[in-house]
Symmetry: D3
Subunit: 305 residues, 6 copies
């Protein structure tokens, strides 16, 4: 295994790379590099290297179906190439990795465009945490000439809401910033909630930053539509087999550095929003009801299963 | 007006004194001192001083019915004394202030005892922010031999949950500490939610630390009973006249010190929990349905109206 | 029985006098006239006349507790006068009738004032049908300098919403007029719903113009507070005894004049809104939870029972 | 203590006497007998006997506030008699016991009458378990000329529904009998649910036969009003102090006689229905919202506290 | 472009042709005529004419996916014909138009049959507005020997409910006619709600006559199943791309002819019912959950995308 | 028709064979035997025999889509064989019947495995009635080293819960046994509900033992996920055509042997749980949202339609 793999996996493990997209991109690029630098003598060795990389990346983070699906796809493609030549295989991996990265970027653009259509002029959008797709979507809505205001939460413990706020202010969008607990007080005047996703389960539930599911409940209480933007490849096929999406438990230090010794500090990074509270999933296929995710995947990405 | 009044009011205004109880105590003590040091020549002047102090304190903080009720009671009592002697009036104020402080302390004990009865052995209690009555109640439950665990939120932006966590750990109670956004993830295993109150409206809604009303909604979603502990004198008679309880807006700095210049940071200190989500009001009268608050006040504290 | 009684009762029966207040006023004035013109020879005859009038008015309309309570009060007062002189009794009835009419007018003012306090600046108020108290309340809010917009329904079949719309436009309030069925489409942007009442039951449910209870459900669905303005004397003591508030069935002609012969046209004038959907009852006592109505009546109007 | 007390308490303990009313009647009659047969030499001894009887009865069954309130009332009355003569005291106890028994019977009649008014002609009533007041109410409704149908559950494990079914068939009421689990399947066509009560808590929640609270939830789901008939003296003042109503755990044998040895059989006799699901409490005061119970008790039975 | 197109489009624009089906039929017939009368010299010209007609019809009404899908299908088919002969193309268009009209009629029959199966004997059906498919379905249920009663609303402002009432009375079905606001009062005794549709969104929400979504909420509140009958081709593929279904705003005159000058009269023709409130979509495929609409369309009408 | 068919059908009709799986197995085996013993002279006669058997079995029980789908499959396969030789056809039926039985057994194993993954360590599982798949799933969870506790209802009237309890105790699982009515009292501490299914409708609703739908409602009320385990072939294609799943009405004797003569005893065997209350369908495809059932069937078992 080339060093690149180890370094990338380490960065993912240490949360130096964050967000489902960034994690997937880092892994794919490392595998691309590995394929370029491969010293494998034959197909078997080459595929073996890929599998090893896969093992390392899967172990680096619990909740990252996008990364896992990306790697699975690249390996499946390589396995399907009818050649014994390592060079051909290497080119195949590089090309497919490039394709994946391009598709991912295109998806973001496409999703942003679709989502922007769903935002009415003069509306108040609520978001939580940071999602580059959500920012892109809001930028698009503004570029479409819509007058929008955004409310974003700070998103404890890691304050990713500050990244969102900075980006939105930079885009010239009127943005209001609140603590997470204030979501309900501001929900009355919200027209639409849009958040990102880290994973989608086979029932169509969405795993996203801790607090997302509360916001979904509060949006429901106030009859505010709650949308999730997500690439379809965040679908986690393991959930189909009954596995619950693992909820990463992060360091207590993020929450309280000098906590009293006997205090138990719990810091789950994500929570699960039931399909019951999700008005629509905005993905590269368009806006769909989350309940159909398995059939959509069978139609679009059958290799995922 | 004696200096004490000005100083106390200033501390209240600057949030150096916090919490409904502490604010009321500070004001009552200052008025007690004023009465002791009075230079009033006659009843009219004496009452005038009291009214002035009332005006100053009312202006010092928007949401403090307990303080306002306390002062109103002391003044009402003084007005009722059939004397022209300033000394007698001064003694009356001092005595009533003492009485009020003692009643307040007794109420806390009494409420804690009642509330502790409502906690079953081996149960998980959820709380938000800091309330000395809630801590007292939990201590009582433990002293009654009940094995309890507590989950408490950090309560952004001012982290009052850390005070609660420190107190509970100090009491030897197994305590779990989470960010506010994680409330829903932990609610599934909670047996009872107990929070304090800053004000009670005439419909029986409760004003408390920002985030309380979300927790009430989430408790309701999971069929977990949500109780509020409160002295009855936190009832705000102005709400009867249609006034909405004012929600104090605190400094943006508490939320984000180096916020980007154009970002609007909103920092409401409280929110309102509807009686619909409140399982019971634990007050010095016992556990009652919040909807009856006006009739309970008419029976117990008719002078409030 | 003087002719006045017969005429007034006939107008009430034929819906020439409408609205709980107007009906009560018409009946009280007729009884006042009867008392002035009485030819009764003694107390017994005089009271007999009053009872007869009561019977006639009760029979004239099914759902009018305000009228019934008003008459009961006047009779109770007359019965209590320690005299045999018809003249004294007559004066007593005239005086009490005047008192009732004045109290009713004062209540309206008082309720309007309380309700106006509950309306925030820059808010959208939703109302249904026509209630002079609601119009008065909105006028007050505007006079208080608040910028308000109102949405009102046409209120089929009798189009009382047009009266409301005319009054509001006359007051210079920006008013939007919609068909009843459009309530849900506009509810998303409403800040508060305020409607009148025809009767209040012992559980705290409210009888009001057909369609009110749907609006309450839709307000609840969108977390919009739903308030009812009502004099406490619209409380119907018969409901305490289990009687259901009778729902008047009006003429099918109001709905469809040339309906096909075999079609069953049903035209109930009122419906019942459960206390569960009522955020507060705005009455002369202030804003209260509707559940406490029986205790409030015992405290304020014990003669009602 | 006379033998009567021991025997009566034993019957209560062994469930040979069942139902809140029957238990209270048995205890009151035993105390009456005790007073008649008393050998007490003086007031102190006499009161001592009463207190002893109280202790025995309180210990005989956990959830019986009606019995406890009855005994408390008799003792309070005896204590208040200004005499030292045992004979007078004995007469007082006998008279008050008679009074209580008569009031209880009158309450049942009165409640039945009120409740019968609430039943519309041609309606389907749903009931659970057996309550003599409910049977009386249904008989009254039929006697009033109303055409009613009743659905009643068998009420496992003790099949009290069979008693209800027998009584109703005896009254000539068309009755449908179902297993408890079928409640939801039949709820769609129900017009009103009416059940009895064993205890009422200070928040206005109702303790009744296991399964009642599920039926309340299912009635709520189908927008069917759920009424509880109950004498006010089933109010349990201990709940005001935070005590949870004890839920009696009955013998596993009632559920499954030959259960496998390691199986844990749980047999709680009651459950708690939240005031949220109760449309009205039909009591001797009329139909009230359960939330006001504490204030109603203060007005009607202040000695209870 | 032949005159027929202009005339048909004008009628649609002026609401002289109403209802999704009628609008689609009018447009298809006009295009059929155009194809028959075409003077196009070659394929390009012929297709150009079709596109022009498409543009005119799309502009004639905002919310008509059935019409738009029909035209798209005819054009797609014509484009696919491997010929340059205008005559062949013309025949193709005529044939496909006929096919579409026949399929549409067959769908109605088929849907009516399926829906009629879902109606139990002796049940009360609630409907809103006018839908020829619903009438057909009810006629079928009656023809199947089922004893049904129907409640229908008048459907302000255009009173389409009168058309429904006339048709049902004509069919000998016992029909009750009410104002829109009375829906909740009658919902308690309803067994099933069935309405038509103007459009279906990609999430499975349904656009139908204003008021439909309120009825869905009220049906849900009373646990009454709410069904929508609709041809699958009312699915609007633009919603997949984020476009919100446009809600046509009709003339204020329909609501109030002599409205006061400053009054804002709003007259939206449709509203959106969330899939959450829809028990089933009765379409030519059978009864399906609305959430799956996108996958069903991909299987049945892939050319729609 | 061979005797085997008649006997098997009779056993099914008399409830001597119970449970969707057992019924299907009995029918398939009988058809297998029939095919082995066939005296048919040609293909037509052979297929005729099969059709006859189908008719007999369909008539033997109302709610058994699994059996009906199994028979349809075997017949469809036989019809497709390109031969006229009876022997070949007979072998085909025997082989397909074996295949079906094996697939059914494999499905159970597979479903149990998937479902076991969804159970967390240290969790409390609630179940109702008896399902061999649920028992198998719980056994698997225990075998996977998970510490689980189970609560099971007795399931009146036929006490199938006792079978479940016996099996679980036999497996060494800590099991609590309660009456059906106690479900709500125990739901607060439940982590997951898992029940079986008798049929799945085209909307994704589930038909299962009477009481299941109440438990679903109560689980929803307490935010406890409710899962259904089911082979996909329990899908009933007739529901697509609008047919309501027939609810079998069993003998009143099961409920009350000595019921009074005029009492109507109703004993429906099943009820319908709406997809709204089902968190996931655990089938051989994995865990899916029930709303997609029609599309899943089209992908997996297209011959069903």
């Amino acid at each position: 295994m080339v060093e690149t793999i180890r370094i990338a996996a380490e960065k993912i493990r240490k949360l130096q790379v964050q967000g489902a997209r960034n994690v997937a991109i880092a892994a794919v690029k490392a595998i691309q590099t590995q394929a370029e630098l491969t010293k494998a003598k034959n197909k078997i060795q080459f595929l073996c290297e890929l599998k090893e990389a896969q093992t390392v990346f899967v172990a680096s983070r619990e909740t990252e179906p996008l990364m896992r699906n990306a790697i699975r796809w690249i390996i499946t493609q390589a396995q399907g190439v009818k050649t014994e030549k390592v060079e051909t295989l290497s080119q195949n991996v590089v090309a497919n990795a490039n394709q994946f990265l391009k598709d991912l970027e295109d998806s973001k653009e496409h999703i942003a465009e679709i989502g922007a259509n769903r935002i009415h002029d003069n509306s108040v959008v609520f978001t939580h945490c940071h999602s580059s797709t959500v920012t892109c979507l809001l930028a698009k809505a503004k570029a479409d000439g819509k007058n929008i205001k955004v409310i974003c939460t700070e998103t404890r413990p890691a304050y990713q809401g500050r990244i969102t706020a900075n980006e939105l202010v930079g885009l010239g969008i009127e943005t209001t910033f609140i603590v997470d607990s204030a979501a309900r007080s501001f929900m009355e005047n919200v027209d639409i909630v849009i958040v990102g996703a880290d994973a989608i389960t086979s029932e169509g539930n969405v795993v996203n930053k801790i607090g997302s599911s509360s916001i979904a409940v509060l949006a429901h209480e106030a009859r505010v539509p709650f949308y999730v933007v997500s690439e379809l490849l965040k679908f986690d096929p393991e959930t189909l087999n009954g596995e619950c999406e693992k909820i990463e438990q992060r360091s207590p230090n993020e929450v309280w550095k000098e906590a009293p010794p006997k205090l138990i500090v719990r810091n789950p990074a994500f929570d699960v929003t039931s399909n019951r509270y999700i008005h629509g999933l905005i993905c590269e296929e368009g806006i769909i009801a989350p309940q159909t995710i398995v059939e959509v995947m069978h139609r679009k990405y059958p290799w995922v299963f």
